[in-house]
Subunit: 339 residues, 2 copies
C-alpha cells in the first residue's frame, strides 16, 4: 500500500511531517510517497537517523510549488496545479497512491480532493468527518466544515458516511444522533426537522436528536450536523480545552505547594492529555470522494501525521468507499438516491 | 428595589433558591418577592437560620401552580396563568417588581417574559445573552437559544443589546465579533455575510468575524450568533468542561501519588473551578423586553441565584433598557430601525 504525503504543508515544517511518515512505516506494512520540493525532502531524509530499511520505504515525487496556509483555496488549486497537495491527489487519481494526506491549507486539500477525484456515486456532497474523545469511545462528527449550507439529504448522507467511517473504531451498529438544541423530535430549525425525518426513515441506527452536552458523554457514536455548526463545535472545543488547561496551569503556578502537587500528579495529567489529544485521532477524512483524502490539523505533530497515515491505510483495508456507495445506493428506500 | 424570584423552579428545589435569595439580600440593598406555594415557601423560610433583618426583606406572593421542567413552554404558560413564573412576570408588569428571576423551565421563562412584558421599541426579537469565562475578562454571547432561525437584522440587534449588557462587566467600548468559521469577511453562510455588512456599517465597535477558537481567548467582549448556534456553543462548552474534568479525575484516581499531588494542588484547582464556574455569572438575561427577566440554569446553586438577582438589580441600576432602546433608535443609520 502506498500513501502520498504532502511533505510541505503544515505549520511545523517538512521535518515534523517526514518524522511522522517514518513513524508510520516503522510499524506498518506500507510505503510512503513524500510529495514536495525534492531537494528539501532529500535533505531532511538524509538528516534523520532512520534505518536504511525504513528509508527504503520512502519515495519522493517532486512538486515545485506549495499552497500557502493563508491562500484562497479555490484560487490556489487553480493556479498551482504543480503544488504538493495537487500532485499528491494526482498520484491517487492515477492509481500510484491509495490515499493523500496533508496538513497544509485545509480548504485547498478539500477542494483538491473533490476536484481531482470526484464524488462517489450517489454522494451529493463530500464532507469532513472527525473523531473526538469522549468519556467512553470516540465520537465521529460530520460535517466539520466542508459544507457551510446544507440540505436535509446532505445531513442524512453524512450519517451514512460517518457510520461507515466508525468501522475504524470497531463500533458495532454505530448510534447516530442529529445535533440540535433539544431532544424532542420537533426541536431545531427547519433543516434539522427535515433531516430528522430522513434519518428516522433510513436504515441507520438513528437514536434521534442529541444536544451539545451529550456529545462528549460517549452515548452516541456518530453526530450529524452541517459544516457551519460542525466547524464551530470543532473550534469551540479546541479553544475551550486550550483555555481551560491554560487557566488551570496559571492557578497551579501561583502556589509552590500546588506546583509540587502537580509534579506528583504529572503522570496522571499526561495520561489525561494523551486521552484528549487530537493527535491520537490523526486527521479528518474527506468522505464521499472516489479515493481517500485526509485533512490534518495545521499544527499536526509527527504522531498526528503517523496516525493520519495509518487511518488512511485502514480506510482502504476496510473498503469504506465501497461500503458508503453500497449504503447510499440502498438510500432508494429513503427516496434520496442520486439527489 | 424589589426582585421577584420564582421560588419553585429549578432542579435543586425551593430551599436552594431561597438560600440564594437570602445571600442576595445579605449584602445588597434590595427586597425579594418569593413567588410560589405560600405554605412551602413559609416552611422553608422558617427553617433557615437567617436573621430577622434578612427575613424582613423577603415578601411572599402565592402562586398555586408550577411549570414543570419537561412541559411544553408555550402550552404551559397558556394553561398555567397562575404558575410561579407567570406570577413573577405579572409583578414586573404591574410595577410591583423590577425584575423576574427563574431557574425553572427556560422556554417557559422566555415565553412568559416576552408575552407578559412585550418587546422594547425597535427590538425585532428579544434574545438570551450569557457571560462566559475567558483567559481575560468575561465574554457575552448572544443569542444562546431564544431564536432558532434568525435574519441578519436580528444578529445586528443582538450586538447592540449584548454591548449594552457588557456594561455590567465595566467593559469600555466592547469589541463585538460575529461568530463564524473563518476570519475573512467573506467566510460563513448567507446569514453571516449579510449580518457582517450590517454590523460593519453600525456604530458598534465591530472587530469582524471571530472563530470558535477566539471566543475563550478574551480578545472579544461580545460574540454574536443565532440562537441555534449559540445554544450549541453553550451546551458543547458545558459538556466538554464536564467531560474533561471527569476524565482528569479518573486518571488521578488511578494512582496514589497523583491523589497526593491532587490533594496538595487542591486550592489551585478550587480557584480554577471558581474561575470557570457558571454560577459566578448568575443567569442569562432575556434582553429586548420591557422589563428585566433572568433565565437561570436549572441546576443553579444558591450562589448562582444570588448572582442572578444581583445582576438583575445591576441591570436596572444601569438603565440598560433605556440604553438598548436609545441605541436601536439610532439604528436608523443602518437602515434597520423598526424592522
Amino acid at each position: 500500500m502506498q500513501i502520498a504525503l504532502d511533505a510541505m504543508g503544515g505549520d511545523l515544517g517538512p521535518q515534523e511531517l517526514i518524522s511522522g511518515a517514518l513513524l508510520a512505516v516503522e510499524r506498518h506494512d506500507l510505503r510512503i510517497t513524500l510529495v514536495g520540493n525534492e531537494q528539501v525532502v532529500q535533505d531532511h531524509l538524509q538528516s534523520t537517523s532512520a534505518s536504511k530499511t525504513l528509508l527504503d520505504r520512502m519515495d519522493i515525487v517532486h512538486a515545485p510549488t506549495v499552497v500557502e496556509m493563508d491562500e484562497n483555496p479555490v484560487d490556489a488549486i487553480r493556479r498551482k496545479k504543480d503544488s504538493s497537495i495537487m500532485v499528491a491527489f494526482d498520484l491517487v487519481k492515477s492509481g500510484q497512491a491509495t490515499a493523500a494526506v496533508s496538513a497544509g491549507n485545509s480548504g485547498a486539500t478539500l477542494a483538491a480532493g473533490v476536484r481531482k477525484l470526484g464524488r462517489l456515486k450517489n454522494v451529493a456532497r463530500p464532507g469532513l468527518a472527525s473523531a473526538f474523545p469522549t468519556l467512553k469511545g470516540p465520537v465521529v462528527i460530520m460535517d466539520i466544515g466542508a459544507n457551510v449550507e446544507c440540505r436535509p439529504v446532505h445531513l442524512y448522507q453524512f450519517g451514512v458516511m460517518a457510520t461507515a467511517f466508525s468501522n475504524l473504531y470497531n463500533v458495532d451498529k454505530p448510534r447516530v444522533g442529529l445535533l440540535t438544541i433539544g431532544e424532542e423530535s420537533g426541536k431545531g430549525n427547519a433543516l434539522i426537522k427535515e433531516a430528522y425525518n430522513l434519518l428516522d426513515r433510513s436504515s441507520l441506527n438513528f437514536i434521534g436528536n442529541v444536544e451539545g452536552r451529550d456529545v462528549f458523554q460517549g452515548d452516541v457514536d456518530v453526530v450529524v450536523c452541517d459544516g457551519f455548526v460542525g466547524n464551530i463545535v470543532l473550534k469551540i472545543s479546541e479553544g475551550l480545552a486550550e483555555a481551560t488547561m491554560k487557566m488551570l496551569r496559571e492557578e497551579i503556578l501561583k502556589s509552590t505547594l500546588a506546583k509540587v502537587g502537580y509534579f506528583l500528579a504529572r503522570p496522571a495529567f499526561n495520561k489525561f492529555k494523551r486521552r484528549v489529544d487530537y493527535a491520537e485521532y490523526g486527521g479528518a477524512p474527506l468522505l464521499g470522494i472516489k479515493g481517500i483524502g485526509i485533512v490534518c490539523h495545521g499544527k499536526s505533530s509527527a504522531l498526528a501525521i503517523k496516525n493520519a497515515i495509518i487511518g488512511a491505510a485502514e480506510m482502504d483495508r476496510l473498503k469504506l468507499n465501497d461500503l458508503i456507495a453500497g449504503d447510499l445506493a440502498k438510500g432508494v428506500d429513503t427516496g434520496t438516491a442520486g439527489i
